[in-house]
């Protein structure tokens, strides 16, 4: 079965990003497909490569990156939400006159149409948030 996942909250503050990860991992291990994971609202903050959590804590961003590498996942960050919150890739940084970018590998920035498409193309959309 084809799942799509939407994540509305950033890492560490709420459990949403953790629950979404555990759900995605369990679905993939059961042989399901994940069409797309869409990071929306504060969820875009999952996609920064600048995080350095404590040694004894989980590394939420790296966990996404590793899962995406293992299963070739499509991790999409909402562009409008990302602009409001300071998540940028090299192109976005250049376009907006910023001197740095911070997006993590395997994440890509795109529009809300990607969320609608995920709703259309997948069998189930599961939303994790606050």
């Amino acid at each position: 079965m084809k799942f799509a996942i939407q994540i509305n909250e950033g890492p560490y503050q709420h459990q949403s990003a953790d629950s979404a990860y555990q759900f995605a991992k369990a679905a993939l291990e059961k042989g399901h497909e994940i069409f797309r994971i869409f990071f929306y609202h504060d969820g875009v903050n999952n996609g920064t490569r600048l995080t350095t959590p404590p040694q004894d804590d989980r590394h939420i961003t790296n966990r996404w990156v590793e899962l995406a590498e293992k299963y070739d996942l499509d991790l999409v960050v909402c562009v409008a939400a990302a602009q409001r919150r300071g998540i940028a890739d090299a192109d976005e940084a250049k376009r907006n006159g910023k001197d740095a970018d911070n997006i993590a590998p395997k994440f890509r920035i795109s529009g809300l149409g990607q969320l609608i498409e995920a709703g259309i193309q997948s069998d189930r959309l599961v939303v994790f948030g606050d």
Partner: protein, 135 residues
């Protein structure tokens, strides 16, 4: 993408305190281009999104309430508002913005987009959907 799905946007949060109401509208507008069967549900504090007379000058935030009036132009004209949610909050239909659309199947007659439904009817509406986006 020839398949048409029934999309429900479930709005349960008040506006301005959090960004969800604004973002829900954003998705609805973008989603209109995908020609799906779109409905909006306003339940619990979500009914506050539709109050008339919103004026955000004093809080320095953008007033996005006029956007609801544009929905009809995007063929988004099923706005289900829960009666019980209104009543618990001391609201009636008169407190909400009048929202209308032109029905192209009925000689472009102007019709109300807001449809006040009971909680039981709302539960049925949810049940009939293919995809539910929660805000």
């Amino acid at each position: 993408m020839s398949e048409t799905k029934k999309f429900l946007y479930l709005n349960r949060k008040a506006p301005y305190g959090t960004i969800y109401a604004l973002e829900s509208l954003e998705v609805v507008l973008i989603g209109a281009a995908f020609e799906q069967d779109v409905s909006l549900a306003f339940v619990d504090d979500g009914v506050f999104q539709l109050t008339k007379g919103q004026n955000t000058k004093g809080i320095g935030m953008k007033d996005f309430s006029p956007t609801y009036r544009a929905l009809g132009d995007y063929d988004v004209n099923k706005l289900y508002v829960e009666k019980e949610s209104l009543e618990e909050r001391g609201l009636s239909l008169d407190d909400l913005m009048p929202l209308t659309y032109e029905d192209e199947d009925d000689d472009y007659a102007e019709k109300d987009s807001i449809r006040v439904v009971s909680r039981a009817e709302m539960a049925q509406i949810m049940d009939e959907q293919d995809v539910i986006l929660s805000f």
